[in-house]
Amino acid sequence: MNGKLLEIKNLQVSFFTPVGEVKAVNGINYSLGYNEVMGIVGESGSGKSVEAYAIMGLLQSPGRVVGGQVLFAGEDILTYDSKKMTDLRGNKISMIFQNPMTSLNPVYTIGDQLVEALTCHDKNITKAEAKARAIEMIELVGINNAEKRFTQYPHEFSGGMRQRAMIAMALICNPKLLIADEPTTALDVTIQAQIIELMKDLQKKTDMSIVFITHNLGVVAEICDKVTVMYAGHVMEQGAVNDIFYNPQHPYTRGLLHSMPRLDSESQERMVPIDGTPVDLLDPPKGCSFGPRCEHCMKICLRNVPPLVEIGENGHVSACWLHVRQAAEQKEAK
């Protein structure tokens, strides 16, 4: 299928705190086709989760969308009223969260919670049908003894199982889009590997698109087709997964990749850290938000915010004054 499932245009989210406005997401753009996995990478405070909550319409006060559009299958869902949004949420767009324990209700059985997700969106379904479907989902996400598990409570599940149950719940209505907010961060590596395999497998089976939010570049390389690198509410670089990992252009992306120790490196050479400290969002720098930490920082970087410019094929874009100049020079040469 061609076309775009999700298109985000200049999305801006602010938190109006007593000490001032915090611009958590500052005009980001991206689009996601059908059957694609987009990875959103960034450190804490980069606005990657806030952006996901904004898409889902789950922002809590004092957070508010202050501008931009979220087009889902061509319609701007930011203009939806709460009833329309409730219909959409969990039905067409689902979300899984970082900590499965806090997002499952401890006083209902897993089965009840799965059935609830189903009956909320399909009023005509019978109890028996819903149960059968729920058990089918439990089996699909790789939990053994589905019949017995159906009647158990979240505390009887281990961490990895709970995340599986969350995935089952998110996928029970066959959503077109799954937003996964750090789904493996709270898990151990061997369990993380299981969950990633499961998500890859389910994505192929169900043809859904995934927005995968994480700070772990390894996980991104594993599962994503496209990557968006965020820093302090801005998109720094965006492109196909191979372009980002083998041909990173933005100094921040390069810095991130270099500052990570690698398991497959041959020597224990010294790491090259990114100097400085993360941005204080209450008092962000005037120009490029990465400017004060950037080794290539120029005068203009501290004054003006760089625009996103195209630097390669397959939608490889970067927001850096270095590339703005290059792009302008190339144009002139032509």
Binding site: Q192, G218, E222, F245, G255, Q268, P273, D275
Partner: protein, 332 residues
Amino acid sequence: MEQKREKLLEIEKLRKYFPVKTGLMRKDYVQAVQDVTLHIYKGETLGIVGESGCGKTTLGRTILRLYEPTCGKIIYNGETIFDSEKKIAVNMLPYRRKIQLIFQDPSASLDPRMTVGEIVGEALDIHKLTPGRAERTARISKLLEDVGLNSEHANRFPHEFSGGQQQRIGIARALAVEPEFIVCDEPISALDVSIQSQVINMLEDLQKERGLTYLFIAHDLSVVRHISDRIGVMYLGCLVELAESYELCNKPIHPYTQTLLSAVPLPDPEKNKKRKRILLEGDIPSPLNPPSGCRFHTRCPYAMPICSEKEPEFKEYSPDHFAACHKLDLER
């Protein structure tokens, strides 16, 4: 590598059980650390990796005797500081000057009502290391500068600092008494990726300058691989493999180490596609009632009948490469 290396710390069959009430009159034990034997050479970094609940933090704290060992033997620099057979348990205060700890959560391990100067200075007072007031202040400023902070920071409170800076304060506190040996318990897992490498580089520099010895505990294999000379892998309280770090990452012999290594996602899309992955089934069993025999046998792809009957012995399979697995005995 040098031929004769001095051992700074030796532990033998160290065991730590925690009692838990499982009923009105019943008591069970969480077998957090089960008969761990290892030694640490002077000036090296020994990394300990494992998943959550494998007992790596408990091991670190038991070595420091913050938790009293259930049984076993700890020898520090040739002096026995704990021996359950001979009933030796020495006063730890003099050793606290030599052994220090850096904690995982920097904000939780700093008293919010003390200034940074007080936090760092407290250790100096306890061990009566600075006679005069001026000297004490100078020493604190020096320590803060050593970890990349300013001397003016001494009058501020922990909440005024970012996570990375708080961890630096924690490190300054550990360095205050000029220790020889530092147990780093997940010192960087609470930090952002771009800050992690700053702290790792600093730990490496401090080690070089002061000849420190580290026991570096973490769950992130790539970080441990980077910083350690040798790595030990733990599973459910047991040390399953111990080897020089390049050897362990490239020629792991224990099935659990192999799985763990293959589970780490690499920041390299093409390599990930080519790599063969060993996926484990199920979850880690409860340490309250660990499996009999080899504790890994319930999830091991090579499990044999003997694995559930007999506990495998932890022995040296090639020079400096230790492991505990029945399969390796058969192959020999």
